[in-house]
Symmetry: C2
Subunit: 459 residues, 2 copies
């Protein structure tokens, strides 16, 4: 239980002021300027405390996991689980691991405080590593307090909003593909064996194995629950009843998803964000910031790339539900497809460029002494990038499916009030995902993926 | 340096007696009977101390890593590295990690005492886990002393000999395939996600990440050195000069091997022995014991299966070099192929049987709620076993290649005195390995692999 854990105390506005006063790293961020200090709570109220702290000398955000020591009733619990997962998707909010073993979901999410505490630790580790590798697109960590499960980081000032909300509002972000491809290429390349020695790789892999509880949550909600009868699955009903059943009866799909699940569980390819959907990105017209890597671990790169691309495709298919007489969203749909295409193509280009720049480095997957001719390097890169493309399509499609028939849905669809309209959008996304997942090895370019999307969209 | 490390002191016969007297776990093995105690050193003299300890009341083997604290000259060092790697292959002896950073190989093998010490720790961990899962085929660990890097285990009494020596001598072991398929099916199945929850899996994966130094040795000598110009590579020269060069110039082969190397480095599929060649198995007519799992870690299952099968194929191709007027070895060659066929087929059968027995268990790769029909289970198993078969062929072939053109050769070939005859045998093995490795995904059964072997053997 939280309160019993040594060193932890939940902060409120008042105790936060004392905490800031006694923490030099935070005082520095305010230019030692406490006069005019303002604290605004912006957390979701249930799951994390998130405070924006400003003074005339500076600002930062404080994020602290909020623990509950209560054994709660199952009915309440279901609500909390669904709510918090939904919040994870639609905002920068967080899932809390409840401190009891009594309920079915809880066994999957994490049973004890120490695991919960580690979640903040791994988020901090990943934020720092991502920030080191890609400082332009990751908020700086100013301070971490492990016993307090507290992270202080750069305040992403307005007009930063969550990308998903921007996509629902139909806002174009001209630099989005440029920035996201940068983030993915740099964070994935530099933590893979194309750059790492196996010595540093295994050491980092071992450390992030500790984040197993949040991996288990992904395993369940992405790779398992949508393919079986599960208590918290839901969908737009009765419209999609048959579609959900068809997913559970699709043998080929289930075999393919099991292969992706094994890859997720077994393959330590790079440090992945682990939850890189459009709710984990904050944007303005010229800034793109990736937040909330609490699911980070060494896993398959395609899981991150797929998460982002798959959520763009969900955004695409939701647009018809947001169209109205003033805006048919057709131009915006074309912009989303352009982002999809550019994100992969720029990622490909930047990732290979990093590989070329570091070909003689200490990365041990493809030694320069063995891959000792330009045409052989090209051949190796072509195979590697093709496999990565297919992995990304597969994981992206799996992420799409789970958002429509699993426990946790996305605001892109949930905000479409009319059930029939929503179901129509969702069914197209579902059909697209199934096709992409099952036939992913046939695709040779992102433009072929886009053709499938356009074809299904035109039905 | 060894001597400086707290708690470590190398034991000689005299100090070993004192050590036994002060160690209750060892006294028990001797039935507290010290009168008539006999100690026989059987280590290779350079790399490990191995003592057989017997008294009228019982017996055991003591194995202690022998450290050197000396900075040695490069010429001596090359000899030591080659010798010790060769000994690793041909006997149950061990590689020592030298305590200096000055020389090129040493960076790859391990630079410091703590890593070296951990080697004994991981060997003990794996011996215990293998023994728990397959007690009939693994010697029991009686005692482990971590500061002393010392393992006491069951003495495998005569007529136990190293399997490789038995294969060179042309001895048939009627239960070999039965026993080895048992060992592999049980140790691999029960440490995979077909049996493990991801919670226990990631915890075990993290622990064995510590055995990185020996993994790095494998990465270098199996997956890298044979495919480039490397100082310690050697082969039967001048006979195989062109063959070795052809390996280094084979682009398709190098791409395929790089894929296997990445799988070795990234994929934590099960606890593997890591060095399961015919020199790590001791046999009698009715006993089969797997020893020396010092390379153990969570890696791809196919690496173990391939190591064993690949070394049987090497034994097969070496037989012509051991034929003489009294024995043309043709019957023995057929027996080896029978073992190859039976080992895989029995492994397949036993592994799938364990899977079926545990289908409703806590293994998380294929949940019973999702794979909820017999025909779907069958489909999943078919895909899994086919992939595993292809991995095994690929890793087995890679292990064959490195034994012919890499740093560490096998006694099967090395004991063929005539260079031309040896080269002939080796070239066939090499050609077979290249074909198997590059075309492995085409094979549907072990009998097809055997057809390739027979065809190349008949050339």
């Amino acid at each position: 239980m939280a309160a019993a854990e040594e060193g932890f105390r939940p902060l409120e506005e008042e105790s936060l002021v004392d905490y800031i006063k006694s923490t030099p790293a935070l005082l520095v961020q305010l230019g030692e300027q406490l006069e005019g200090l303002a604290i605004k709570e912006v957390g979701d109220g249930n799951l994390n405390f998130v405070y924006i702290v400003t003074s005339p000398g500076g600002s930062f955000v404080i994020k602290q996991v909020q623990y509950t020591g209560l054994i709660i009733e199952q009915s309440t619990y279901c609500f909390v689980v669904q709510t918090c997962i939904k919040l994870m998707i639609t905002s920068k909010s967080h899932l809390i691991c409840l401190a009891t073993q009594a309920l079915p979901y809880i066994r999957c999410i994490g049973t004890s405080w120490p695991m919960t505490k580690e979640r903040a630790y791994f988020e901090m580790l990943a934020l720092k590593e991502h920030g080191r590798l890609c400082p332009n697109h990751v908020p700086e960590v100013y301070h971490f307090d492990r016993p307090m499960s507290l992270i202080a980081m750069r305040y992403l000032k307005p007009p930063h909003i969550i990308l998903r909300k921007g996509l629902i509002a139909g806002i174009e972000y001209p630099l989005l593909a440029q920035h996201m491809s940068d983030f993915m290429a740099r964070t994935l390349f530099f933590t893979s064996l194309l750059y790492h020695s196996t010595l540093e790789h295994r050491k980092a892999v071992a450390e992030f194995c500790g984040n197993v509880e949040l991996c288990r949550l992904t395993e369940q909600v992405v790779f398992s629950d949508p393919y079986k009868v599960a208590q918290y699955n839901h969908w737009t009903s009765p419209h999609l009843d048959h579609d959900a059943e068809a997913i559970r009866d699709d043998d080929i799909l289930k075999i393919e998803v099991a292969g992706l699940k094994s890859m997720f569980c077994e393959r330590a390819q790079a440090l992945i964000h682990g939850d890189l959907h459009t709710g984990s990105v904050m944007v303005t017209n010229d800034s793109t910031q990736v937040i909330d890597p609490e699911f980070a671990f060494y896993g398959p790169m395609g899981f991150d790339i797929g998460a982002f691309l798959g959520n763009l495709i969900l955004a695409f298919f939701s647009q018809d539900g947001h169209a109205n007489k003033d805006n048919d969203r057709e131009a915006y749909k074309r912009w989303i497809l352009k982002m999809l295409e550019e994100t992969w193509n720029l990622f490909h280009q930047k990732f290979v460029a990093l590989w070329n720049e570091n070909f003689d480095g200490h990365g041990e997957a493809y030694l320069a002494d063995i891959f000792n001719k330009p045409e052989l390097q090209l051949l190796a890169q072509k195979k590697y990038m093709t496999d990565l493309f297919h992995d990304s399509i597969g994981f992206g499609a799996a992420k799409m499916i789970r958002r429509i028939v699993g426990v946790a849905h996305v605001e892109d669809f949930e905000s479409i009030a009319d059930g029939s309209q929503r179901a129509l959008c969702e069914r197209r996304a579902l059909d697209c995902a199934k096709k992409l997942l099952k036939e992913r090895r046939k695709f040779e370019s992102i433009s072929q993926v886009i053709s499938v999307i356009e074809e299904i969209s035109a039905r």
